[in-house]
Point group: C2
Chain length 344, copies 2
């Protein structure tokens, strides 16, 4: 397959076909520069039969849309047709899953670049450890897109920062070429979805400042973003919690700026009520991404000696809620012995 620039189309595997994964597939396919194999799970049969029905703020209405290939499990790569990119858009719940193990069959060492369009801070090192010869690209998504039984409502544009998460064993120019090539394919449909940045960790800390606080605190209290601010939470928990997160980032070498708390709070207007994704998970009884969003940040805090009393307690309450959710869904057994160690 040859694209309009007479380069072969990139072979891309997208793992996780919820809203984020489906819209990534659409962007990549519509550029004409990639052919996507999408791994579906619960919606596999439906999408095989009927395709996706999509209403997209970026791409308009798409009816019966399918990527080039649909599969119901992560395929084993072949040496003749390795995947150029494996794009990971799954929720990350390390308590019950291992992303590296899940994608391993499809990764060709020294060839496949792994693109993490997932939530969290420092989710890349375990991937680099598992695939030391592969470039890792990282892009915290801000898309608003929800998939249910093959229907996708995509109402907030797919724009994100994308960067290399540097692997010391790899040549920086090689990593950069992978970054630019992937961005060109993702943006080739004419929309600048992916914005290339030099230091993606900075942007991941920025997102952690929102996700680690609004997401977690709304999940615990079952209040939406506006109600938690109006009910006293803005000053009792949200702002001081954000200040702690900014202090962790600073200790890690990332100065988010003196106005970051104000900026993030104001970016969450009380005129517009919505339920953050982690609260939606709690509403539905689904496990939450506590470890990658908050646990990883607190492990940096411990290493750097940053005091985080509010976020520590946030973590501990949410971790108990997480155990309840994991038990209720049958992911883990009800613990029998009493753990005497803390998990941060």
């Amino acid at each position: 397959m040859i694209d309009s620039n007479h380069q072969p189309k990139r072979r891309v595997l997208v793992v996780g076909a919820g809203g984020v994964g489906t819209m990534a597939s659409v962007a990549l396919e519509r550029s004409g520069m990639a052919c996507v194999t999408a791994v579906l799970r619960s919606n596999y049969e439906t999408v095989m039969k009927h395709g996706f029905d999509i209403e997209s703020v970026d791409h308009g209405k798409l009816s019966g849309w399918r990527p080039t290939n649909l599969v119901n499990k992560v395929p084993t790569t072949s040496s003749e047709t390795p995947f150029d990119y494996v794009v990971v858009t799954m929720k990350t719940i390390p308590e019950i899953m291992n992303v590296a193990e899940i994608i391993a069959p499809s990764v060709t060492p020294g060839h496949t670049a792994i693109v993490l369009l997932q939530n969290g801070i420092y989710i890349e090192p375990p991937i680099i450890n598992a695939f030391p010869k592969n470039a890792v690209l990282s892009g915290p998504s801000y898309i608003g897109a929800h998939e249910k039984n093959g229907h996708v409502v995509h109402d907030d544009p797919d724009r994100f920062h994308l960067g290399v998460f540097h692997n010391d064993r790899l040549d920086k120019q090689y990593e950069r070429r992978k970054l630019e090539d992937f961005a060109s394919a993702y943006n080739g449909n004419g929309i600048e979805h992916a914005i290339i940045v030099d230091d993606i960790i900075h942007y991941r800390w920025r997102k952690a400042l929102w996700n680690g606080i609004f997401n977690t605190m709304c999940a615990i209290t079952q209040l939406d973003n506006a109600a938690i601010r109006r009910s006293g939470g803005e000053y009792s928990l949200i702002r001081p919690g954000m200040a702690e997160m900014a202090a962790i980032a600073a200790a890690d070498g990332y100065d988010l700026g003196k106005d970051i708390v104000e900026e993030m709070v104001n970016a969450t207007p009380i005129e517009l009520s919505f339920r953050p994704s982690m609260l939606v998970d709690v509403d539905k009884g689904n496990p939450v991404e506590i470890e990658v969003i908050l646990g990883n940040a607190l492990r940096v805090a411990r290493k750097k000696g940053v005091q985080t009393p509010i976020l520590d307690n946030t973590y501990r309450f949410l971790k108990l809620i997480q155990t309840r959710l994991l038990v209720a869904r049958g992911h883990i057994d009800q613990p029998i012995d009493i753990p005497t160690t803390d998990s941060i």
Copy 2:
């Protein structure tokens, strides 16, 4: 009315006819030493028609049982027949109610002793302020008794410590006589329900150590007493939270003993799962007694300079949940302005 000791029967008003109030009424009436007027609300019509049906670990099976008088609002006292005791067994939610205002019509200054069989720490001073000439008795209940539409299941014995909460304006001997007289009436049925103690505040702090921690933390996480221990909560939150509460009590002059945390945790066995009352309230969507159980304790901590990072955060999360519950029940409007002050 003359009792077997040829003393007139005490006139007792019981305000709050849930499990605690109904079983207090039974104990007082069965002694033959008191006649009870019970204030009922939602169950008034049913109990007027059919009486209470009671299965009691202390008193056996009682069918169609009624106290001497049933009323559906707090009666205004008459000067000829003042109440000797007003026993308060209502849940205390100061955000939306004022106990002193509720009982005021039935209190005769200088005569009626007020008996608080309610949860909380330092719930007595507002009552003393409102009724400076009246003795205040205080007894944190440990009863297990649940009332629904006139049916009461009473499965854990009605035993409690009862003491004077001293009012500087009153003579200590006068207060003591009231205490002993009320206890004799409550215990006159042959069961030692009320155990007279010299310093009831000590026992209220003891109860706060359990209520302020297990109750609040189970309510936030929606885990029962056993599950929260088994899921890591025992060491991450329960024990250090209890240690903070013991430190507040100590700063207030009440040494609960060096083994108090161990003792309280062991008194909550993991072999027996139950949902603490505050969690049951959250389950049902009812407001919780956060201010009297935890807020009052933290106000003592602030005054005495005790650091309570875990309980502060527990309070703040639960206070947000409380606002959600109060709004959902229509007790308060959804706040519009963002509060900038903390409520501890």
